[in-house]
Symmetry: C2
Subunit: 419 residues, 2 copies
Amino acid sequence: MTNLSTHSAARDHALALDRVDPLAHCRARFTLPDGVIYLDGNSLGALPKGVNERLHRAINEEWGVGLIRSWNDADWYPAPQRVGAKIAALIGANASEVIACDSTTVNLFKVLCAALEANPERDTIICEEGNFPTDAYITERTAKLYGKRVVLANQNTIESVIAEVGSRLCAVALTHVHYKTGRMYNMQRITELTQLQGARIIWDLAHTGGVIAVQLHDWRVDYAVGCGYKYLNGGPGAPAYVYVREDLIVSLDQPLAGWHGHAAPFSFEQGYRAHAGIDRMLVGTASQLSLISLEAALAAYDGVAMTDVRAKSESLTGLFIELFDAQLGTFGFDLVTPREAAQRGSQVSFSHPDGYAIMQAVIARGVIGDFRAPNILRYGFAPLYLTHVDIANAIAIIADVMGTGEWKRSEFSQKKAVT
Amino acid sequence: MTNLSTHSAARDHALALDRVDPLAHCRARFTLPDGVIYLDGNSLGALPKGVNERLHRAINEEWGVGLIRSWNDADWYPAPQRVGAKIAALIGANASEVIACDSTTVNLFKVLCAALEANPERDTIICEEGNFPTDAYITERTAKLYGKRVVLANQNTIESVIAEVGSRLCAVALTHVHYKTGRMYNMQRITELTQLQGARIIWDLAHTGGVIAVQLHDWRVDYAVGCGYKYLNGGPGAPAYVYVREDLIVSLDQPLAGWHGHAAPFSFEQGYRAHAGIDRMLVGTASQLSLISLEAALAAYDGVAMTDVRAKSESLTGLFIELFDAQLGTFGFDLVTPREAAQRGSQVSFSHPDGYAIMQAVIARGVIGDFRAPNILRYGFAPLYLTHVDIANAIAIIADVMGTGEWKRSEFSQKKAVT
């Protein structure tokens, strides 16, 4: 194995990897600011080229001139379905199984309710201990609404907890890749184990969509939700998406019955008749400007195979861990993310008691990651726009910030609203 | 009374009204396409100047360069509160009582649940017969979720139905201005009657916000929801808003418990603790681009008094009805909207058996309104950018389309996806 303890050696090694990267051309599809190595695409994806032009046209021509007519003439109306179909192609789903709408949390509510409504005699939802807070909150609150209970499991106990809950199990709701640790569940296996108990599986794909090669339909996943503003680069607060396996759609009942989920929204019928297809997951009017941004952003995936994206993700995270070992070993960090590629998503997290200040100091040097309380430094790797050299350079900067003690400056410990 | 049966006389009369319009200067705050008289601002508001520039900056500088840092540095994080405060000023609410988020339907779900959670021993929600479908759907479905019943009332029966339901009444959920007829409830009176029964009132302000001078706080309205893309001109599918009267916030419980409604979202606590303020109505991450568009759009209301807006709205709708009587009387139309100004919102609707084709033919001539099944031609009047001369010209074009029989051409009867 190459000795990667110097920046120069690491850089040469990274350059060699970049030379054979089949996705190298994709970086030109993004606008990336000078002086920044952006390792936070798992929080807010970078700006794809073309988004600004597309929104400029949407605002000035479609809205400004076309006005209300653009719901028909600019094809605004079928945008949730169109964007859903594009996302479906990235997560191994059929086009008719995915639709873009609302926020991840609202969509999670819909599928949790759908699972509970489908199996009213079962009383337990399994949720992950330490899951992303919004998943924990909405699961707990939805269970309360239906008079059900939540049982917690973690990556180590999930299989035995599913077995224990057994015939009481209604649904298992998990985030595929853990937001803090980056640890990834075996989606196929947990899906099968859940369904063996006659229960439904719900996957939150927040850190999966656009970066991990999953096959929702073939793996017979029941429901999934995901986020438009992380690896899909849809822009701040981009609409989320929801997946329902084809055969479950027609009987699906969820409480957010709104006019865009109706079989015939513009007949203005007084009674709700759910749309026969995935449209029944819609509620109100689509947030069109944000949806147009997401649609334009998805062009960055044109002609890209998800297997290549995943392979590069493994390569980038693998290199980061190698260089972490070789160059950051003496600074008191603990690696949190699994070393085995199959067990991790596209992120690497490590902990440090002074993680907050260190992250701020490193950000000030242009290497952007984020901090997750209480002590996690989290770096996400977006394969479409990152190079291996970015990784080598980022590690060198972190090493420098640690070596010089720069992070101890008082300005870096001041908390910001959003961390 | 002036004889307004000719276009020339009507135009002179309109010009005289425009000369004394205190809001005349506001038209320059909008981009309006040539050859169009836009009477559909109650469906999608026109494009305010400044929105494009603001979004250009948000996309290229804040997202493109600032990236994740912009949640702090560009003040993205407090945008829902900031936009809420601006809207509050237009509906007679305190800044701390309104927040911008999600869709109208999702917000309606939150406040319906809040009312039901607050009064679990009461079992009835009153909803309007013939209300906008999404209101009817979500009310019916939420009632079912809680095992409650919905009782229908209409503008004529509402007072007696409230009295009849009496102590079983949990909430009354009404749209202030009817989407089809334009008829307006007496908000103060219905609010009082509802509260006299110990129940909560919910007003949908879809056709009220930004055009009718209401005083939510002083009239002690409990809850309200409203739309960002109609008279507020926030752009297609702009975020909606929700109002909760100050004293009801701290005990409010709603099931869409998401991380942005938490007391400390970035502490990543596992248990939900609702924010002490209106933030508890938030769920997921704000749709930032759409929210920025809405915020920029609200600048069109700078320095504008809602009493002036309402006065002009009455003047515009009043003129439309006068000219309707004088020039459209022989074409088989029936006026649907009340003639008495205090009983109507900022729209005028009339019916015709061939309403769909007539509306399409008139739109083809540049006068844009919309059709509402089965037979309603609906025109909305946005006082910030319309003149009285627009009304005179619109009536002349409708008269011409009817007089020539132009609307009978086969192309105008072909249904579009969005009507």
